[in-house]
């Protein structure tokens, strides 16, 4: 059976050019980049090259890039490192209800430690109201943390406007750009960003490598103690091969951004239009304005059926997608993102995310469109909610778990 991978927001395959770039660092160029001898010298250049490649993709300078082990580490570092460094100035952070757990759970831990956190709500389309952001700012606010793009819905947040607000009030601005980098243009200068986080495995580099952009002059408390690597900002011998791979992936992303966007967006729109016309009673999760969504992401709920059972059925056809259903996460609650968007609870359980990548083809999309309508119908015929005259719960009775 042919495998169709439509879960690029979860992770992506390592691109062949990236792997080629990495291999020498597992073979002849094995040195420790901190060593003075030939073996060290051979690889220290590779780190600096990767730093340039990453910096250039986001319009930063190489000295502002610190390599870390993953996106989650970058988010932890941004938030904890800032709160501690600025504890004399304040104790309040503003974030959103739809962040990735790497930010949300870090904020929750900071709350336990005595900091105050405001979680900005989103509307039914998952969009933010920037007036709410301004209202939430107090004299004690030291950090605004808003993701560039949401991993579940693909919604792109108005980062430039948020950057302007942060600048106006002189508040540090962190953005989790893990899903945005490589998919849409990202420019830290234009958006006035102080801290920005990238993860390798979402852009064709391997798992276990990431980067954080730290604007020059941004005071941070060190978080990983040890050696003097990364200008004392992050101890630990660097993952040279992974970093070289991340650099290459960023270089490819810079070169291909325009063509990637055009291609993937056309395929995503084909899927979105196909599902809308062939499957009745669906709900789009995320903004209906496609320009304000990542070009590769589509999140839909299929009324009356549950997400995991749909995923298992699709899996039998070789199709890999993902779901916001509780049943796929091991918890009893559906995704917090669906909850924050006030998606009715059975619809939240059925939310299904298709995320495309550079390797996705039109044939694959058409195959999905071939099998999806009958699969959905088969599960609907099995559902006690289908054709039974039950109406969806309203907001008053809906028990969707919301963080706010």
């Amino acid at each position: 059976m042919k495998h169709i991978y439509l879960d690029y927001n979860a992770t992506s395959p390592v691109r062949p050019e990236v792997l080629e770039t990495m291999l020498p660092f597992y073979r002849e160029q094995f040195g420790n980049p901190s060593s003075v001898h030939w073996a060290g010298r051979q690889v220290s250049g590779a780190l600096e090259k990767a730093r340039e490649q990453v910096a250039s993709l986001i319009n930063a300078s190489p000295a502002e890039i610190v390599f870390v082990s993953c996106g989650s580490e970058g988010d932890n570092m941004a938030i904890k490192g800032t709160l501690d460094a600025l504890k004399d100035r304040g104790n309040h952070i503003i974030t959103t209800a739809v962040e990735h757990p790497a930010v949300l759970e870090t904020c929750a831990a900071m709350e336990k430690a005595g900091y105050e956190v405001t979680y900005l709500p989103v509307d039914k389309n998952g969009e933010l109201d920037l007036a709410e952001l301004e209202k939430a700012i107090t004299a004690k606010t030291v950090l605004i943390s808003v993701m560039w793009a949401n991993n579940e819905t693909g919604n792109i947040y108005p980062i430039e406007e948020i950057g302007r607000i942060a600048k106006k009030y002189n508040i540090r601005f962190h953005t989790d750009a893990v899903q945005a980098v490589g998919k849409v243009p990202v420019d830290v200068q234009k958006a006035n960003i102080d801290l920005l986080v990238i993860s390798g495995h979402k852009i064709g580099a391997p798992k276990g490598v990431g980067a954080i952009y730290i604007r020059r002059g941004t005071r941070m408390t060190q978080f990983m103690h040890g050696g003097h690597q990364e200008r004392n900002r992050r101890a630990g011998t660097q993952n040279v091969a992974g970093i070289a791979g991340l650099g290459k992936a960023c270089e490819l992303a810079s070169q291909e951004l325009v063509s990637y966007y055009r291609r993937v967006r056309a395929l995503r729109d084909r899927l979105e239009d196909g599902i809308s016309s062939q499957v009745p009673e669906i709900k789009l999760n995320g903004t209906p304005f496609r320009d304000r969504r990542l070009p590769n992401t589509l999140n839909v709920s299929f009324a009356y059926i549950e997400g995991e059972s749909l995923l298992l059925n699709l899996d039998m056809f070789g199709i890999a997608a993902s779901s916001g259903s509780a049943c796929t996460s091991g918890s009893l609650e559906p995704s917090h993102v669906m909850g924050a968007m006030c998606v009715e609870v059975t619809l939240a359980h059925s939310s299904t995310r298709f995320s495309l990548g550079p390797e996705t083809t039109a044939e694959e999309i058409d195959h999905v469109l071939d099998v999806l309508p009958t699969t959905v119908q088969r599960l609907r015929d099995m559902s006690p909610l289908y054709n039974c005259g039950r109406t969806a719960e309203g907001c008053e009775t809906c028990e969707t778990v919301r963080r706010l």
């Binding site: 009356y304 059926i305 549950e306 997400g307 995991e308 059972s309 298992l312 039998m316 259903s325 509780a326 049943c327 796929t328 091991g330 009893l332 609650e333 559906p334 609870v345 059975t346 359980h349 015929d381 099995m382 559902s383 006690p384 909610l385 719960e393 809906c398 028990e399 969707t400 778990v401």
Partner: protein, 122 residues
């Protein structure tokens, strides 16, 4: 993650649907936890002649529903009331730990349907 038996019942569920002249109907679960299961019974002379189900839920929920209907057919209502959630899970060669709450649902739905039959017929 799922056993072959679970996948078999999930992909080819037995006894899906409704019984038009059911004399016992039971429903358990709630939408917020992501599973709702409805069981229809046809009881004659104290024996379960036919069972059908409809389920909103994950793979485990559908498989346990299917399994419980197979196990219940032909049993007396007393025997069927003895059917435990554990027995359903075991008949499927086990369920992943985080899914055990779904297997509880299947036998519960059957018991609800039997209770509904008993109240209606007394």
């Amino acid at each position: 993650m799922y056993t072959d038996k679970v996948m078999d019942h999930f992909t080819n569920p037995r006894n899906v649907g409704e019984i038009e002249d059911a004399n016992g109907v039971g429903e358990v679960g709630n939408a917020s936890c992501g599973d709702i299961m409805k069981i229809f019974l046809k009881v004659e002379n104290n024996i379960i002649k036919d069972v059908k189900f409809k389920t909103f839920g994950c793979g485990a929920a559908i498989a346990t529903s299917s399994m419980v209907t197979e196990m219940a057919i032909g049993k007396t209502i007393e025997e069927a009331l003895e059917l435990s959630n554990q027995a359903v899970a075991e008949a499927l060669d086990g369920l992943p730990a985080q899914k055990m709450h779904c297997s509880n649902l299947a036998a519960d739905a059957l018991h609800e349907a039997i209770k509904n039959y008993i109240t209606k017929n007394n």
